[in-house]
């Protein structure tokens, strides 16, 4: 029963705990004027200056080799930085995707030139990435992607449409997943590849990024129309035709971290603030329940970090943690709103708890969609159980 094999998380480590102390001191200074409402943005919060400061501290690309700007620290040390940032509601959005999945993908599959050119900039907090996977007719069914790159003189010519592309309007690069060949008989995963797209060039010609405003009124994701975009030969990432394996590995990075269960943490903090130590027993029990879930998830999630460090493939375990984590994040909203008699609002001047609650009521539905839906996660778990 593969789904249950979570190795014991790495033990208490004085180096990691010293690092935790440093991170907390950094956050105490950098975050002192951020409102709870801003913190509620969690890893969607975007602040390039903040990312640069993290880069200066050596807290991006932490586990990568030094020759690519990394710091050769352990997965556990990296985990400590991630969870401290998330718990504080730090605006890590500018580098989050690059650090979490694009960088590791390039490290694994990129050419020496791609690594040297891009990884140090990510580690410096100066380079942001977006994820070019979903399309209008290809959501959960990623293999149905129709965007196509065709080999031409001097490179590749790309046509198609990507959608829900978070941060495409700001990102320096996209990792584009598309077709480069035909699906073969019986293998719909064949004939796909990944490309490194320089967004600053692409937006200048061949790519049109149109905002899609989310229901909260915010601009995070976009529609990306690609028409005769010419990519140079060296934009290919990894092997031509190996895109499916690469993207699957990238998704394991995408799903494996504490960002999959701490998105609503600011709401728990504000609830604790509002309820206070003399809260009624009913509230203590409810807050305790959310806390108990977080503690168990943190164990599981650190175990996944340890497995990544050990070079194992925790795709299945990551899916399981993501599903449990998304349920918890959404439960946090349901539970807290029944403990505090308030009407949520994000209008200017709303008190912190009211604004944070409103923010989370409106964003929580996305937690079990982005990065792969709840049903898809459960399908992956079922496969791990041997049912599919």
């Amino acid at each position: 029963m593969q789904a249950l094999n979570f190795t014991t998380p790495p033990p208490f480590d004085p180096v990691a705990e010293a690092l935790r102390h440093d991170v907390r001191q950094f956050l105490a200074v950098e975050m002192h004027d951020r409102t709870p409402h801003q913190r509620a943005e969690s890893w969607s919060g975007n602040d390039p200056a903040f990312s640069r400061k993290m880069g200066e501290r050596g807290w991006i690309g932490m586990a990568w080799p030094k020759r690519y700007g990394g710091h050769e620290r352990t997965a556990l040390e990296r985990y400590v930085v991630l969870e401290e940032m998330l718990a504080a509601g730090a605006p890590v959005g500018h580098h989050w995707v690059a650090d979490r999945q694009s960088g590791p993908n390039i490290l694994r599959n990129g050419t020496e030139a791609q690594r040297e050119q891009i990884l140090p900039r990510i580690a410096a907090g100066e380079c942001s990435f977006c994820i070019g996977m979903s399309e209008p007719d290809s959501g959960s069914d990623l293999a149905a992607a129709r965007t196509r790159a065709q080999r031409v003189q001097g490179g590749w010519l790309v046509n198609g449409t990507k959608v829900w592309t978070s941060g495409a309007h700001r990102a320096d690069y996209m990792i584009l997943f598309c077709r480069t060949g035909a699906k073969s008989e019986g293998d719909r995963h064949a004939g796909a590849s990944q490309f490194l797209v320089d967004m600053n060039q692409a937006r200048g010609g061949g790519m049109t990024v149109r905002p899609i405003i989310d229901m909260r009124g915010a601009h995070h994701f976009n529609e990306v129309a690609i028409g005769d975009l010419l990519l140079p030969d060296d934009a290919l990432l990894g092997q031509e035709g190996d895109g499916w394996n690469q993207v699957t590995a990238e998704l394991a990075f995408e799903r494996s971290g504490p960002d999959r269960f701490l998105s609503a943490f600011t709401l728990l903090v504000e609830a604790v603030r509002a309820l206070g130590p003399t809260a009624p027993e009913r509230a203590a029990v409810a807050i305790g329940r959310l806390t108990s879930h977080i503690l168990a998830l943190r164990r599981l999630s650190r175990s996944v970090a340890g497995m990544l460090q050990a070079g194992e493939d925790p795709a299945l375990q990551a899916a399981l943690v993501k599903d449990l984590g998304n349920v918890l994040e959404q439960e946090t909203v349901k539970v807290v709103r029944l403990l505090v008699d308030v009407e949520p609002s994000e209008e200017d001047g709303s008190p912190p708890l009211i604004a944070v609650l409103a923010h989370l009521v409106m964003t929580a539905p996305s937690f079990s969609l982005r990065g792969g839906t709840r049903e898809i996660m459960r399908g992956i778990i079922a496969r791990g159980l041997g049912l599919r």
Binding site: M1, A3, L4, F6, T8, P9, R20, E83, A87, A88, F265, L268, V269, E270, V272, R273, L275, G276, P277, A279, E281, A283, A284, V285, A286, I287, G288, R289, T291, S292, H293, I294, L295, A296, L297, R298, R299, L300, S303, Q317, L320, D323, L324, E375, M377, R378, G379, I381, A382, G384, L385, G386, L387, R388
Partner: protein
């Protein structure tokens, strides 16, 4: 734990625990052969320091053994014997052979110890005592004149009325009126709340074991039961339910890890409480899903799912249910306040 230890435990329980043994135990026959095998393997002493009769196993390893025993629904007081010996050893009392158990286990049951010349007089009534009827001795945490004290109580010192939990495990009421020699009593290193936490920790581990069994039975059943021309495990609704079940089973294993950690490191109420509460919730959800995916067969006495689920429904309430422990956790984080919340979690 070493794979070798786990393998030998797996083999031992597989060989000695079957439906017949469990049923006979529920009908009142103590599984002596199983107990002897477990004792001989040293499992009952797994929580004891070496100088008091242990074998040098770590707390983690002892808890892993317990988890395996629970996965097999071994109908024996392994957790109780481990824990009672552990308490005796900590109090500096020697650990007798045979079945041991603990009293009291309910919060309102208080046992009282008074000086009476050279000896001690122990009195009181305690309900739901695991395996009291089979115990060679009961390790009592009593209220003494100078605070909590540990006392070793032999069967001639109490009367007994039988009771059981939903899984048919003995949970007896004992009424004590006993004179105890001076060397059978020592000041307790643990407060009653800590003993309750220790009990919660071992039940958490057992829940994880029984839950893994409920999951594996459900998966096997879904792979073999055919309806509408295919194994029911091919239906997405079943797959999604079993994925949820697997998630709770994994959370329970994490909780068991937390519980073992706590038992080894001073029984932090936040950690034990979160563990027991999380495992209890997992037990409730998972048992329901396991039965749902089995259909009527799972509802029969003949089929073995209930050996796991009746234990889950019992153990989730023993040594504190989710409301009690979530309350403890909640109070702790509310006291820590908004700025202390996260540091409290990372320190747990």
């Amino acid at each position: 734990m070493s794979d070798q230890l786990a393998d030998s435990a797996e083999r031992l329980f597989a060989a000695n625990t079957g439906k017949a043994v469990i049923r006979a135990a529920e009908d009142g026959t103590f599984p002596q052969a199983l107990w002897d095998a477990v004792t001989e393997a040293g499992f009952t002493a797994a929580l004891l320091p070496e100088h008091t009769g242990g074998y040098g196993t770590t707390v983690m390893e002892a808890m892993a053994l317990l988890q395996i025993a629970a996965a097999h629904a071994a109908p024996i007081p392994l957790a109780e014997t481990m824990l009672a010996g552990w308490l005796l050893a900590q109090a500096g009392l020697s650990v007798p052979e045979g079945v041991l158990t603990l009293a009291p286990v309910r919060v309102r049951d208080v046992l009282t110890l008074r000086r009476s010349g050279d000896v001690w007089h122990l009195t009181g009534t305690a309900s739901r005592i695991p395996w009291a009827r089979d115990a060679a001795a009961i390790v009592v945490l009593a209220e003494g004149p100078n605070g909590p004290a540990v006392a070793l109580l032999c069967p001639d010192g109490f009367t007994l009325s039988h009771d059981r939990n939903l899984a048919g495990e003995p949970r007896d009421t004992i009424t004590i009126d006993a004179m105890l020699a001076a060397d059978a009593v020592a000041p307790s290193p643990l407060a009653p709340a800590q003993l309750r936490a220790a009990g919660a920790a071992v039940r958490t581990v057992q829940i994880a074991g029984a839950l893994s069994r409920a999951l594996s039975l459900s998966v096997q059943y879904a792979q073999t039961r055919v309806q509408f021309g295919r194994p029911i495990g091919k239906f997405q609704a079943i797959q999604q339910n079993l994925a949820i079940l697997a998630g709770h089973a994994a959370a329970a294993v994490a909780a068991a890890d937390m519980a073992a950690d706590a038992l080894a490191n001073g029984l932090d109420p936040l950690l034990v409480g979160a563990a027991k509460a999380r495992a209890g919730e997992a037990a409730s959800v998972a048992a329901g899903l396991a039965h749902q995916s089995h259909g009527a067969i799972g509802f029969t006495q003949e089929y073995e799912l209930h050996f796991a689920t009746r234990r889950l429904w019992s153990w989730r309430d023993e040594f504190g249910n989710e409301a009690e422990w979530n309350g403890v956790v909640g109070r702790a984080v509310l006291a820590a306040g908004p700025d202390g919340l996260w540091p409290a979690l990372t320190a747990a």
